[in-house]
């Protein structure tokens, strides 16, 4: 076992998960590849969504991969930072909107 939980070199070993369960890995990676193809959304739009989600789930592998991928897809730095702000707004908003629940409870308890 390594002394740290995360090693940048592990990103390149992602495909190795197939060693322990090939069939499910194959299904996952086929699906993964299809998800990121040009569709109703462009490959760049999908890359920016992935970058935003990577920040939401705070996955260092994904942040590494989709920072490079967004640059390669021609995204601007402003677009990339705006994607992270979308994450932040939703995460922050998700907490804040529960304030309504708190207020409801306060109102119920209070005379």
């Amino acid at each position: 076992m390594e002394k740290t939980y995360y090693d940048p070199a592990d990103l390149k070993k992602f495909g190795d998960v197939a060693d322990f369960q090939p069939e499910l890995a194959r299904k996952f990676f086929d699906y993964y590849g299809d998800v990121f193809k040009d569709g109703a959304l462009t490959a760049r739009e999908k890359s920016l969504i992935a970058l935003a989600v990577a920040h939401a789930v705070q996955c260092p592998y994904c942040i590494d991969a989709y920072t490079s991928d967004s640059l390669e897809k021609g995204a601007t730095e402003q677009q990339m930072m705006e994607a992270v702000h979308v994450t932040t707004a939703i995460r922050g908003g998700a907490s804040l909107v529960h304030g309504v629940q708190m207020m409801n409870k306060v109102k119920k308890l209070s005379m």
Binding site: K12, T42, A43, R44, S68, L71, E72, G74, T76, E77
Partner: protein, 351 residues
């Protein structure tokens, strides 16, 4: 303005030193396969040319810009320059062979005092296609260059210009402060005489290269973005966008090493190796000529000092088409740059 590696007496100013670096480390320890090993598995070693169609002539390494990624290590301090006699020899070869394209590069080729003479003579003898790789800002650098768009038009030149992004910040970080604004002005001057305009027959192409240690994206998509953004914001038109991968030599190699991106970048190039791109690499149809008349398989090999195979004749005075077309192309690990993804050449993607 940053300094050239040459003026810093940097070890990577030497082609030999670069080749040594590219052969050691991750490639010396068998962590990654060498380019030779890689193409050998495809039965493509030794790499051989097809018909030679393009004479890419580097008329000198002097440039008014010092770009961070420049594979030539060009700059104002570079004095290597091609004389008229060598140019004449190139023209003689072109008039006697089926080589249809004269591709002029540098440095800033326009800074060579015999540049206009060379272009006019090539036009006179009926060279089918004359390409000038212009950095754009040269057009505004001095009043004596302001008429270049007219000069290009008069001689039917195809202009190919670098513009790494359609916004100022990324462009200026790579090519120098203020380069974007000047480049746009130069593009507008080229448009004004008809370049890049539908039906004019005057071709103006742009070259995109990534602003760092990552690969270029889809050429067609980037072309669409560039066309939309440049038209909407600056009323600029152009014909095609060529995406080019940064090759790990000279200043870009120095950048990769300094920023500890070298190994990861080389891994990316090797992982993205595309066998289909090997078929279309530009060294198969191009001969690169230096200011002294020596020949190379490409402009990158020229900068590394890797001349064409000795048996093929290394100087234009010994030009022999048959021998050149049966030569073995000199390769090293930098060649992975031309075979990654959709491939890369002076004409953009190849696969």
């Amino acid at each position: 303005m940053i300094k050239t590696l040459r003026s810093q007496n940097h070890s990577l100013a030497s082609g030999q030193e670069q080749l040594r670096f590219l052969s050691n480390g991750i490639f010396g320890s068998d962590k990654l396969p060498t380019f030779r090993e890689k193409i050998d598995t495809l039965g493509e070693f030794p790499l051989k040319p097809a018909n030679i169609e393009i004479f890419q002539v580097n008329v000198g390494y002097m440039c008014n810009q010092v770009c961070k990624h420049c594979h030539v290590d060009a700059g104002p301090d570079r004095k290597e320059i091609m004389g008229r006699e060598t140019m004449q020899r190139c023209l003689d070869i072109m008039s006697k062979t089926n080589i249809h394209t004269l591709d002029l590069t540098g440095g800033a080729p326009e800074m060579n005092p015999d540049f206009r003479w060379f272009v006019e003579e090539a036009h006179k003898i009926g060279v089918k296609e004359i390409i000038v790789r212009s950095n754009l800002t040269i057009i505004l650098a001095n009043p004596k260059y302001h008429d270049l768009p007219e000069f290009f038009k008069k001689n039917g030149v195809r202009v190919v210009s670098s513009l790494p992004f359609y916004q100022p910040d990324k462009t200026d970080r790579q090519r120098g402060e203020g380069v974007f604004v000047k480049s746009i002005e130069a593009l507008q001057m080229l448009n004004a005489v008809g370049y890049g305009k539908a039906g004019s027959g005057l071709h103006l192409d742009l070259v995109y290269n990534p602003g760092g240690a990552f690969l270029p994206g889809n050429q067609a998509e980037l072309e669409r973005d560039f066309k939309k953004e440049l038209k909407n914001h600056y009323y600029v038109d152009f014909n095609s966008l060529f995406t080019i991968t940064n090759l790990p030599i000279s200043r870009f190699l120095d950048f990769l090493i300094r920023t500890e991106n070298y190994e990861e970048y080389m891994e990316k190039l090797v992982d993205s190796f595309n066998p289909a791109a090997v078929k279309g690499v530009m060294c198969r149809n191009t001969i690169s000529v230096d200011y002294d008349g020596y020949m190379y398989d490409c402009d990158f090999n020229q900068m590394l000092g890797l001349k064409v195979d000795k048996q093929a004749g290394q100087h234009i005075n010994d030009f022999n088409l048959e021998k050149l077309e049966s030569r073995h192309i000199a390769i090293s690990q930098h060649c992975y740059g031309c075979t990654a993804g959709a491939g890369s050449s002076c004409q953009g993607t190849v696969a």
